[in-house]
């Protein structure tokens, strides 16, 4: 029989607990540009934030383990970085062996515990010493050489443990091992990436009928799908697309489940299984909090009554950083909207557009209403515009705003042109038909010719600009006697102006080879 003596640690190691951060700062990112309805639909699976916490710790001289409590619940542990420890970090651990009834038993195999039974007549507790012989798949214990199974006898009985086995904790815990040369009060900075924190941009455009200026409001929506609330902290949001690897995921610690496995005690006397239970009565549909928030997912109706605020974008490398002007509270499972843009006089052009893809059969359709803008100062804009959704409202004859359409835009740098497609116009019908189709030659020299006729009617009370686009222009020859076509964004495009009641037909011929 050999007796081995060894020490798990060479010397005593102090355990220091950092209970909470003195201050926290959050920077929100989005993995892909989203608008608020998508953001709410994606929920905790998307988005990320860079969390910076300032903490103070009292370190003894010598080896110590510092545990960090109350970090964000969705922390990605491998991104945690600790600065400011006098001797640096020897090792950094994230432990997620959770204390649960199952893990308590798994770690107690072979250990002596107390078996407490309650006498069903007297109600008295009877205590015996037992050795655990098997773990969470069904507990077998040994009382003085007699083996029994836990909770299989229908007697009130339980196991009582003297202490929690080492290494089990109530929640996943980040800790570092360090070795300070001298004891002291140190300020350290803990930073990490957390998921489930997301943001989106939403724009609201207001315009009057017939006007060539619109009023543009931009809103930042911050969403916190984590379990952690951030109270009165500095917040910023980063616009632009970051490269991600898909590997930054918080660790989902699964507690070890204690199975109540016994030998068969529910005796199956019947030869056949019992009939299925009757269907549950119809229940009233309960609207969950998330569903409800999606429904009211208010495109914020900006009201001019209060001060309009803008947040100036800063440069962060090749991204745009929007620091919120004051500290905010971002509670767990909350969305918050903050205005970041207000441009009262933005020049735009309204175009009624129809696009022909390939050579189409006869169609009766309606023109799309497109608002064309350019992100420059002389047009009343000239600010970086983070990607998001745009909702357009037009003032009706009684002065109230009417929602006329919604589109989404990409990140728009200054000076770039962009468009908002609000939908199809009821009163600008477009009819297309292939008026002639011929082929000539054969084999390699075969050529196809088609004549297309597009008829547009302006049934509006005001004059309009109609834009006709034909795709596939580059591979073919296109000519027309009715309009001048130019190449724009890969389409052959022509413009015609129509006075109220005007009807115009544009004929063009295309020729291409197979």
């Amino acid at each position: 029989m050999a007796v081995a003596l060894f020490a798990a640690c060479a010397s005593a190691r102090a355990a220091v607990v950092s209970e909470r951060a003195d201050s926290v700062a959050l920077t929100f990112y989005h993995e892909e540009a989203v608008e608020t309805s998508q953001l709410l639909r994606m929920g905790p699976m998307a988005g990320l934030a860079f969390v910076t916490e300032i903490r103070t710790v009292d370190l003894p001289a010598g080896p110590a383990v510092v545990k960090f409590e109350n970090v964000t619940s969705t922390m990605v542990p491998q991104t945690a970085k600790i600065d400011g420890l006098p001797a640096g970090v020897l090792e950094q651990n994230f432990d997620y062996d959770l204390l649960s009834p199952g893990s308590l038993l798994a770690k107690s195999i072979g250990e002596t515990v107390r078996l407490v039974r309650t006498d069903i007549k007297t109600g008295k507790h009877v205590e015996e010493t037992a050795v655990v012989r098997s773990g969470p798949n069904g507990v077998v214990f040994d009382v003085g050489g007699k083996l029994e199974a836990l909770r299989c006898s229908a007697l009130p009985e339980k196991l009582v443990f003297d202490q929690v086995p080492g290494g089990l904790a109530d929640r996943p815990t980040l800790s570092v091992r360090t070795n300070a040369p001298s004891a002291g009060h140190y300020t350290i900075r803990l930073s990490y990436i957390a998921t489930g924190l997301n943001w989106s941009a939403d724009y609201v455009a207001h315009l009057d009928p017939g006007a060539d200026k619109l009023e543009l409001h931009g809103w930042l929506t911050l969403a916190n799908f984590s379990d952690t609330s951030f109270d009165h902290i500095p917040v910023s949001a980063v616009a632009g697309q970051l490269q991600r690897t898909g590997t930054d995921n918080p660790i989902r610690a699964e507690p070890l489940v204690l199975a109540t496995n016994c030998w068969p005690t529910q005796i199956d006397w019947a030869k056949y299984p019992p009939p299925p239970p009757p269907p549950a009565p119809m229940q009233e549909v309960v609207v969950t909090a998330e569903r409800r928030s999606q429904d009211i997912q208010s495109v914020p109706l900006a009201i001019n009554a209060y001060t309009q605020r803008e947040i100036q974008a800063q440069t962060l490398g090749d991204y745009k950083l929007y620091p919120l002007p004051e500290a905010v509270t971002v509670a767990a499972r909350q969305t918050k909207q903050i205005q970041f843009l207000y441009r009262p006089d933005v020049t735009f052009e309204r175009v009624y557009r129809y696009s022909v893809y390939g050579a189409k059969p006869d169609l009766n359709e309606r023109a799309e209403v497109v608002l064309r803008l350019r992100n420059r100062e002389q047009d009343g804009l000239g600010k970086p515009l983070p990607a998001g959704g745009v909702s357009v409202f037009e003032t009706s004859s009684d002065g109230s705003p009417v929602f006329v359409g919604h589109d989404s835009v990409n990140d728009i740098a200054t000076d770039l042109p962009f468009e908002i497609d609000t939908g199809r116009a009821m009163d600008v019908p477009v009819e297309t038909r292939v008026s002639d189709s011929t082929t000539s030659g054969s084999g390699r020299t075969r050529k196809l010719k088609q004549e297309i006729e597009v008829t547009v009617v302006n049934k509006k009370a005001v004059g309009i600009v109609f834009e006709l686009r034909q795709s596939g222009f580059t591979a073919m020859r296109l000519d027309s006697d009715d309009a001048q076509f130019t190449l724009e964004s890969g389409y052959a495009v022509c413009h015609v102006s129509l006075a109220p009641g005007d009807r115009r037909t544009i004929r063009y011929r295309m020729q291409w080879s197979d």
Binding site: A15, Q78, Q92, D95, D97, L147, N261, A413
Partner: protein, 452 residues
């Protein structure tokens, strides 16, 4: 703040003659792909002749077919891995034909009756023979304890490895047990701070070791092997998604790390405890290199885009000194207040020292490219002439250069006209370095013969 002193000292008795449950010196060698080699050296006291040694505290994810035990003066007769686990129902099944004790508690009086019973069957209910009566256990729902006298020999609380050895002489022996286990793996995480003004990239490398093997490894000498180990069949990791290789050109410089066979080996400076359900990070690298930011736009065909497309932002550097094991590089840049902020991340494959790396961190908000196919024309059955126009816009307050890469040439493909000089990157790719003025734009036009 709470402070308490803890010290973990363990006294273990290397067990009852045949249970070798005191690991003495552990060393683990962890590979990138969910695999580790565990070496466990311990003292065992065995009598002369054949002895069955049980190892209960080996990895719960052990690959039993890889177990090897060696020791001077010991011969291995056989190895077994038993995983018939002890549960109450298994106990009852194994008791068929054997005697158990039934203790009934009478409700009301609390009196207990003790009876011996023979288990006749365990099939959706336990049928017992008590004296001359046949009964079903717990049929009346009254409290009934079942007491067994012993645990059947091959039922165990956890899977157990046993090795039968033949000792020439009785007495203490040093044995070395080694095996492979799954559930342990590692990769590198790099924290890089990029300073654009100084053209500097400072990065620390961290080894991130994850243990989900079901077992803790106390005070283990820990080594990590970097390299793509070939693992066949079910050993293989499900890596259907290959990370995008970030390195441009592999270096040939010798690295400072120890190498084993064709791989790199990293040894942690001191013994560590790798606990179950733990992610452990240990720093292994601190490098300062010069680096530059590159705007890149890469396209694979000749097509128009209706909207401008943002250029990629890459950070290019050369890792002069050390090999970089596979992992993720997270890049941080300082904001206007001087605080480092996350700026994107990219995968890094195993990279020898002296390699050129390009890490993509994201897309530039202010630098965009809008391609337009101006004309395409067939010049033979397979060759096509493409006329392209690229509008490159820069909304930054300083001039930039965009590296434009046009892929899609076939054999004998060539440039016919171009507004800026191109260079051939490879057989199918053309490259232009396009300068774009501050708050301005540059239009690149060219005509190519696609080749055949």
């Amino acid at each position: 703040m709470r402070i308490s002193a803890i010290c973990m000292a363990a006294i273990t008795i290397a067990g009852a003659a045949y249970a070798a449950d005191a690991p003495q010196k552990l060393s683990i060698t962890v590979y990138n792909n969910n695999l580790a080699l565990v070496e466990d050296q311990r003292h065992v006291d065995v009598p002369a002749g054949r002895t069955r040694l049980e190892f209960k505290d080996v990895s719960a994810s052990i690959k039993p077919e890889t177990v090897a035990l060696s020791g001077a003066g010991l011969g291995v007769v056989e190895q077994n891995f038993d995983y018939d686990l002890l549960t109450p129902s298994k106990m009852m099944e194994k008791a068929v034909g054997h005697e158990i004790e039934i203790v009934r508690t009478i409700p009301g009086t609390g009196a207990q009756t003790h009876e011996k019973a023979i288990v006749l069957s365990v099939n959706s209910g336990v049928v017992l023979k008590i004296g001359n009566r046949i009964e079903v256990l717990s049929a009346d729902g009254l409290p009934t304890q079942v007491i067994f006298n012993s645990i059947p020999e091959n039922l165990r609380a956890q899977p157990t490895l046993s090795v039968t050895v033949d000792a020439a002489q009785g007495g203490p022996h040093d044995v070395s047990l080694s095996y492979l286990t799954t559930g342990l793996s590692w990769r590198a995480d790099y924290v890089a701070l990029f300073d654009e003004k100084q053209s500097a990239l400072n990065f620390q490398g961290w080894i991130t070791l994850t243990n989900n093997s079901g077992t803790s490894y106390k005070d283990a000498k820990t080594q990590l092997v970097a390299g793509d180990i070939n693992i066949s069949g079910e050993y293989r990791n499900n890596s259907w998604q290959q990370p995008r290789p970030a390195n441009h050109s592999a270096g040939t410089q010798a690295s400072n790390e120890a190498s084993v066979a064709d791989y790199y080996l990293y040894t942690l400076p001191e013994r560590v405890t790798v606990a179950e359900a733990q992610t452990k990070q240990v720093g292994f690298l601190d490098q300062h290199v010069s680096a530059k930011k590159v705007y890149e736009y890469r396209t694979y065909g000749f097509e128009s885009s209706e909207n401008p497309v943002h250029a990629d932002v890459d950070i290019d550097f050369s890792n002069t000194e050390k090999a970089l094991p596979e992992g993720v590089m997270r890049v941080y840049i300082r904001d206007q207040a001087g605080e480092p902020k996350f700026a994107g991340e990219d995968d890094i494959s195993h990279t020898p020292a002296g390699s050129e790396l390009s890490v993509k961190i994201g897309e530039a908000f202010d630098v965009t490219v809008q391609p337009t196919l101006v004309a395409s024309e067939k010049i033979s059955r397979v060759r096509t002439r493409y006329a392209m126009s690229y509008v490159l816009r820069n909304a930054r307050s300083e001039p930039v250069t965009v590296e434009l890469r046009q892929d899609g040439l076939w054999r004998n493909g060539k440039v016919e006209t171009e507004s800026l000089p191109s260079r051939r990157i490879d057989a199918s790719t053309l490259g232009w370095s396009v300068p774009v003025p501050a708050n301005g734009q540059t239009t690149l036009t060219f005509t190519v013969d696609s080749g055949d």
